[in-house]
Symmetry: C2
Subunit: 106 residues, 2 copies
DNA sequence: TTGACATGATACCTTATGGTATCTTATTTA
DNA sequence: TAAATAAGATACCATAAGGTATCATGTCAA
């Protein structure tokens, strides 16, 4: 765990922000485009994007008067790594395997 | 993603709670034992434990007048699964980058 | 049984957080 | 150049969240 995962965990704790991440996984978007998908003001969406950016989960690239918001999948790493620490505490390895398999096909 | 990961993400968003999880990964603990490791009141720690329990990340078992708090590693699954959705985007972009780089030098 | 001990429950305080409204700045484009 | 467009920046509001203080309840032990 090299970096503190706090900003990323913080960013992921809000449902709206997680939804934005899923949206951005489909395609890059401007702030206005992201805002169109939510029933809240552009300013509110902008705040969420700032939190996501602070968490390293997205990157923002200026393009003329627009800002292209882009998913940064690597930003998940601190969170993934932190979670991974607990993998070996699974007491029932069969259950682990079973859950993993079912998860894939459900 | 069968269960909504919200309560788990919420539980993980606080540093104190993540520290508690690490502690409980070492050994089960009563509320008083957990409290001894922090510079805050037992009531505050109790609240964190409630959030962790709501998030499914720990289980609480009454034992006489004590409550044994125990790590529930399976509780990480909703979070792990949600994060895993983004794995392939990471791979894709890496592949894209790799292709781009190779293109440069071929 | 009585006191000590572990926890539950509640009221309350302060700050963070998610949200709106509004105004300004920087680019396009007609 | 002027108007429309995209976003930045603040100020402000209500509620959630983290924390303390305090009192009630259940359980153990002398």
């Amino acid at each position: 765990m090299t970096t503190t995962p706090q900003p990323a965990f913080r960013a992921l704790s809000d449902p709206t922000r997680r939804e934005i991440l899923v949206m951005l996984s489909q395609q890059d978007m401007t702030i206005a485009e992201v805002s169109d998908h939510f029933d809240m003001t552009r300013a509110a969406v902008k705040k969420h994007l700032t939190v996501l950016s602070d968490g390293g989960l997205i990157t923002v690239e200026p393009r003329g008067r627009e800002r292209i918001n882009r998913l940064n999948p690597q930003g998940m790493s601190p969170v993934r790594d932190w979670i991974a620490y607990f993998d070996h505490f699974w007491d029932d390895r069969l259950a682990t395997l079973k859950t993993a398999i079912e998860g894939k096909f459900e």
